[in-house]
Symmetry: C2
Subunit: 257 residues, 2 copies
C-alpha cells in the first residue's frame, strides 16, 4: 500500500545530477547518517575528499543506505572531486566577510535556475571548523541554513539533510531553468586562473595583496557560474587590459592569449 | 557580526508552546541529536516517555544543547506527557489504514491555524517500530514526512529536525490563526471516552467490533481538535441518542448524562 502523496519515482529536478561532497569529515557516524539522508531524499552520488575508506561506524548509521556507501568515491583533493561538475554550492554556518552568502531559499532557487543537465556539487566542510577560505573560494555559491541560535551549528548530517530535503521538496514541482549552461567547474577554474595571471601581468596583483585579491576575484567570478560566452568575453576584456598596460612599456610584447 | 538574514530572536509562531515528545527511544545518541536539532531551530520543551534518565551518549551528541537535556521531563506514559497540551501531532513513516494522514505541508499549516496560545505536542515513536496504533489513536493529527524510497525511513532525529525546521522556516512569516482554541488534550480524551461509553450503551459498540470502532472514533474525533463548543454539541447529540435507544426498552432508565 502506498501513501497517497508518496513521491517515490517523481523527480522533476534530476536528482542524479547532484553530488554531495564531504571534505575530511571527522565522524564516520556522520558519513553514514549523510548516506541515509541521501537515500531518504533520493540522491545517490557521495564524494569523500581527504579520507581513504570507511570505518564500521559509517556502516552502522547508514541503515538501509549501504548502497550509497558502496558507491561512494574517494578523492585526494577538492579539485579532483569537482572537476567534472558544473557548479559547486558550499554550505557555511559562519559569517565569511570575504564572500557573498545566499540565503537558503535563494540557494535552492539558484540551483534549479540552471538547465537540467547542469551537474551540481553540494560541499560540506569538517564538523567543527567548516570549510576553509580556500575551499569556499573554489565554490560558485555559498549559502547558509537559517538557525535560531549562533551555537551549535547544525550537525554535518543535518545540514546535508536540510539541503537535500529542500531540493527534494521542490522535485515534485519541477524546475524551470532560466540560465545558460555553465562551463565545467574545471574550465571555470582555468578561466579564473587566466584572469589572475593577467592581473599579475598588469601589476594589479602583487606580493602584498595576492591572497586578498585572489579570493575576491574567485568570489566574484565564481558567483557568475561562467558560461562559454562569459569566458570568451572575459578573455577578450583581460587580453585587452594586458595589451594596454604592456604596450607602452613593452611594444614588442608577444602576449596575445 | 551577524548574518543579514539571521533569524535569531524572530519568533512569530510562539515556539515555546511546542513540545517534542519521544516515546521510548532506543538510542540515546538520537536523544542528543534531537536536543541539538531543537536548539538549532529554537525549540526547548523536550518530553521523554517510558525512560527514566539519560545515558552518556545523549550528552555526547547534544553538542551545545545540554540545556535542552537538563530541562527534559520524564513521563511514565503518553497521557501524562500530553495532558497539559491542547493538540498532539504524531509523525509516522508507515501507512496506517485506520487513520487519516496529513501531508507534511498540511500538518505544518494545521499546527499554525490554531490560536497562538495553543500548546502543541509533536509525537515521535521508537526508531524501528514507530508509534503503535494506540499511540496514534491518542493524537489529534497524524502526518508523514515525504521520502523518496520506502526504506529506510528517516532517522528519528532527522524526522524531528525536518518537522521543527518546517515550523522554524515559517516563524519569520508569522502565523495567522483561523480556528477556535481546542480543549486541553486531557479534556478531549475525556470527551471521546464519554462518546465511546455512550456508543457501548446504545449497543453500537460490542465485544467483536470494540477495537476497530474505538480507533475509528478516536481518529474522527481526534481530528476535530475539539473545542468547548464542540464538546457541548457532541454531549447533547450523544445524550439524545442514548435516550432514544433506551427509552423504548427501558422506560424507567435514569441514565441522562
Amino acid at each position: 500500500m502506498k501513501l497517497p502523496f508518496e513521491t517515490e519515482g517523481v523527480d522533476k529536478i534530476g536528482r542524479s545530477r547532484f553530488a554531495v561532497i564531504l571534505i575530511r569529515p571527522d565522524s564516520h557516524e556522520n558519513i553514514g547518517l549523510v548516506a541515509r539522508a541521501m537515500k531518504n531524499t533520493g540522491f545517490a552520488d557521495l564524494r569523500l575528499v581527504g579520507i581513504d575508506g570507511l570505518e564500521p561506524e559509517a556502516w552502522r548509521t547508514a541503515v538501509h543506505a549501504e548502497d550509497i556507501l558502496d558507491n561512494a568515491r574517494f578523492y585526494p583533493d577538492l579539485a579532483a572531486a569537482t572537476k567534472s561538475l558544473h557548479l559547486v554550492f558550499a554550505s557555511t554556518a559562519r559569517v565569511r566577510k570575504k564572500f557573498a552568502i545566499l540565503t537558503f531559499p535563494e540557494a535552492l532557487e539558484t540551483m534549479l535556475r540552471f538547465p537540467l543537465d547542469t551537474r551540481i556539487g553540494l560541499l560540506f566542510g569538517k564538523e567543527r571548523t567548516g570549510l576553509t577560505g580556500e575551499e569556499l573560494g573554489s565554490a560558485n555559491f555559498i549559502y547558509s541554513i537559517p538557525q535560531a541560535v549562533r551555537q551549535p551549528s547544525y550537525n554535518l548530517a543535518s545540514a546535508v539533510l536540510l539541503s537535500l530535503f529542500g531540493l527534494f521538496g521542490r522535485s515534485a514541482e519541477g524546475a524551470f531553468p532560466r540560465e545558460e549552461p555553465p562551463l565545467l567547474r574545471r574550465d571555470q577554474d582555468d578561466c579564473v586562473r587566466v584572469i589572475l595571471m593577467k592581473l599579475e601581468k598588469t601589476g594589479f596583483i602583487h606580493a602584498t595583496n595576492r591572497t586578498h585579491i585572489t579570493r575576491k576575484v574567485q568570489d566574484i567570478f565564481g558567483r557568475i557560474a561562467l558560461t562559454d560566452k562569459d569566458r570568451k568575453l572575459l578573455m577578450a576584456i583581460f587580453n585587452k587590459s594586458v595589451e594596454r598596460v604592456y604596450r607602452p612599456c613593452l611594444p614588442g610584447n608577444q602576449e596575445k592569449d
